[in-house]
Amino acid sequence: MSAKARKGVTRHPLRLWTGWVVGIIAWTLHLIASYLLVSWVCATGNYWALHGVTLATLAMSVAGGWVAWRQWSEVGRQWPDAGDPQAQTSRIRFMAVGGLMISGLSALLIVAEGIPNFFLSACL
């Protein structure tokens, strides 16, 4: 692990949690906002609001994944193992891969929930 990477990691240990949290928050926002907007969309016909929520939260979850990807790159993109007891590398890889996968699943959830907006009426 390079000195720069080690410095970045130790300075910002909370960055490790970014991927674990941001994607899920994005998905939660998508679910709640979409659910709340349905009756308003029915009344006004503004479907763009639903699509806008999907795009915005999708971008948010991708951003969470990107932070995790950067973190993973800093310590060398290898699959995490139980690791050398003296180095933090394995644990950082574990957290980074975790953030990446959770952000990925969140993005997938947002896309899956966004698809019905194209096919179903908000007034049914």
């Binding site: 998905w27 659910y35 957290m95 975790g98 959770i102 699943l105 959830l109 019905p116 908000a122």
Partner: protein, 636 residues
């Protein structure tokens, strides 16, 4: 203790006097006083487990009685009112008083041992949680004996549960006792979170934590986020019933669907609160009985975390027939289907772990394999009912009863029984009988499928749930009779395990320290563990410490902890680097007194609001005594 730099390595020789002193420091009072004063985590965990299984037995008997009532058409073994009370009690007790507490109990007992510490973060809070749970359970069952039991179903829907349609005390008892169990669950969850994040053995970084500990951590966070919703909903309902607020009264602008939203926002994660620790148990058992590291540790951890998160976005799928907008419901259909992804990752990682391994087919492993068959069927019917058109057809029929028993018994009870066989030798110090265990498994497995598989067909034929009898002309008699026979076989299967457990306490073969050759820390200490759990807090260098020690023939431990007070090592969240020492409190009567005081308020309020004030002051005084500062000059 050296906190920031490694001490020089040296061999450690334990003197018997020091060990005896340590045992005295961590001593738990025995006999009658011990019932009210013990705080050690293993004692509390054991109590949770035993009490929960007693409730399992009682609620199981209610289930059997319901099956006998439904065995043939137009029977009169149970009248409609009693039947309503029985199914309400069966569901409530199984979900709230068995499933959650037993999983917490196992976690309270096993997690501190697995992470290599001597107790949990707040031992007295632990004891308080248990007493609150016990009192709540006794009052709930007492209400059944007094004919005051709740009868509006385990999810207690309004307006049926409102004062107009349920005028007696039954629903009041339900709402109050649910609050009890939520308080108890929250205390256990906070305990587990702090213990797991701050009290792991040095070196047990997050990526080395045992999978069961990960599962317990996820379960605890889920409890913290899910339980407040049902506390809020039951409080609103009791306010409607006792002081005439109008939260759920339609005529006054209230909203019955609010109850369903609040309840299921808790209720759906609840299912996963039960399932997630079971997933951890399965991984633990598979590792031990295949004798090699699990395939996809990272993927398994992440899928458990993902299941924990996503389970909070599914609750509306319990409300598909309530007339909500289709587009709104479709978001929840999507999320419900997507949770199959992390669930599938788990299953495939386990299959890969089993593939080509020399599997030892001991009893715990059999229960895990039984889980695979049953849970996959339950998962598939779950995907079916996630689809709105299908759900609309089978809503409130026996298809749903079949589905959730497949998921709950297959997903949680089978792994739990496997875990009991697995950890019983650690808890008791003796092995359970293998032959009896295998008989128990096969009878339970066959009996379970005979009971619940026909219910899919009954549901498709239109048999509604929660009816106390049915007409002969409906043609449901044969399948119901089959289900009842299956239930009796299932009961015999579980009964054999009960007898086996009791028999093993005095007659079982001595277990030794590590009878299964397992790799995790709970097997590094005696069976049953001494009062201090570990003579020395171990230092961890991989995910499989015991297998490492076998190869290396040595182990590193923490030195420097005092043996004249209850000291434990605190470590950092991510890397488990030692950062300090915490002194834990000893046995005390005050958690019990506080639980009694809180119960006085909660139960009394059903009958008169003044008990709120009385309970408040009693709790205040007991908490003052509980938190009375230790005397620093005595250094205790």
């Amino acid at each position: 203790m050296t906190l920031h730099k490694a001490a020089e390595q040296r061999d450690i020789i334990d003197s018997p006097e020091e060990t005896a002193h340590l045992a005295r420091t961590w001593y738990s009072p025995r006999g009658f006083p011990g019932w009210f004063t013990q705080v050690n985590q293993r004692m509390i965990g054991k109590r949770f487990i035993i009490t929960a299984f007693i409730f399992f037995l009682l609620a199981g008997i209610l289930g059997l009685l319901m099956r006998l009532q439904l065995a043939a058409p137009e029977q009169q073994l149970l009248g409609p009112e009693l039947y309503n009370q029985f199914f309400t009690m069966h569901g409530t007790v199984m979900m709230f008083f068995f499933a959650i507490p037993v999983m917490e109990g196992v976690a309270i007992y096993i997690v501190p041992l697995m992470v290599g510490t001597r107790d949990m973060a707040f031992p007295r809070l632990n004891a308080f949680g248990y007493y609150v749970y016990l009192i709540g359970g006794i009052v709930l069952f007492g209400s059944l004996l007094l004919g005051m039991a709740p009868n509006a179903g385990w999810f207690n829907y309004v307006p049926l549960a409102g004062k107009l349609y349920s005028p007696g005390y039954g629903v009041d008892v339900w709402t109050t006792m649910i609050t009890f169990i939520e308080v108890s669950a929250l205390t256990a969850a906070v305990e587990l979170i702090v213990t797991i994040l701050r009290m792991r053995a040095p070196g047990m970084s997050l990526n080395r934590m045992p999978l069961f500990v990960w599962a317990a951590l996820v379960m605890s966070f889920m409890i913290v986020f899910a339980m407040p919703a049902v506390i809020v909903s039951s409080t609103l309902l009791i306010l409607d019933r006792l002081v005439d607020t109008q939260f759920f009264i339609v005529e006054s602008g209230g909203e019955p669907l609010l109850w369903q939203h609040l309840f299921w926002y808790f209720g759906h994660p609840e299912v996963y609160i039960i399932l997630v620790p079971a997933l951890g148990m399965i991984s633990t058992i598979i590792i031990t009985f295949t004798g090699r590291p699990i395939f996809g540790y990272t993927a398994l951890v992440l899928s458990v975390v993902a299941i924990g998160f996503v389970s909070f976005g599914l609750w509306v799928h319990h409300m598909f027939t309530t007339g909500l907008p289709q587009l709104g419901m479709s978001f929840f259909t999507a999320a419900s289907a997507m949770i199959a992804i992390p669930s599938g990752v788990q299953i495939f990682c386990w299959i890969a772990s089993l593939w080509g391994a020399k599997i030892r087919f001991h009893t715990p492993m059999l229960w895990v394999l039984g889980f695979f068959a049953i849970f996959v069927i339950g998962g598939l019917t779950g995907v079916m009912v996630a689809s709105i058109p299908f759900d609309t057809q089978v809503h409130d029929t026996f298809f749903v009863v079949a589905h959730f028993h497949y998921v709950l018994i297959g997903g949680a009870v089978f792994p739990l029984i496997g875990a009991v066989y697995y950890w019983w030798p650690k808890i008791i110090g003796r092995m359970m009988n293998e032959t009896a265990g295998k008989w128990s498994f096969w009878l339970a497995f066959i009996g379970f499928n005979i009971t619940f598989f026909p219910m899919h067909q009954l549901g498709l034929e239109g048999m509604p749930r929660r009816i106390y009898t049915y007409a002969d002309e409906m043609g449901w008699g044969d399948l119901n009779m089959l289900a009842t026979i299956g239930a009796l076989v299932l009961a015999v299967g579980f009964g054999i395990t009960l007898v086996n457990a009791i028999w093993s306490v005095s007659r079982g073969r001595p277990a030794g320290t590590n009878p299964w050759n397992a790799p995790t820390l709970e097997w590094a200490t005696e069976s049953p563990p001494a009062s201090y759990n570990f003579r020395h807090i171990p230092v961890v260098e991989s995910r499989w410490p015991l297998w490492d020690w076998q190869r290396q023939d040595e182990r590193r431990v923490v030195t420097g902890l005092r043996n004249d007070r209850r000291e434990v090592v605190l470590t950092s969240v991510l890397d488990a680097s030692p950062v300090g020492v915490q002194v834990l409190p000893g046995p005390s009567i005050w958690p019990f007194a506080s639980a009694v005081a809180a119960s006085t308020g909660f139960i009394g309020i059903i009958f008169h609001p003044i008990f709120f004030v009385i309970g408040f002051f009693l709790v205040f005084f007991s908490l003052v005594a509980w938190f009375w500062p230790r005397r620093p000059w005595r250094n205790d």
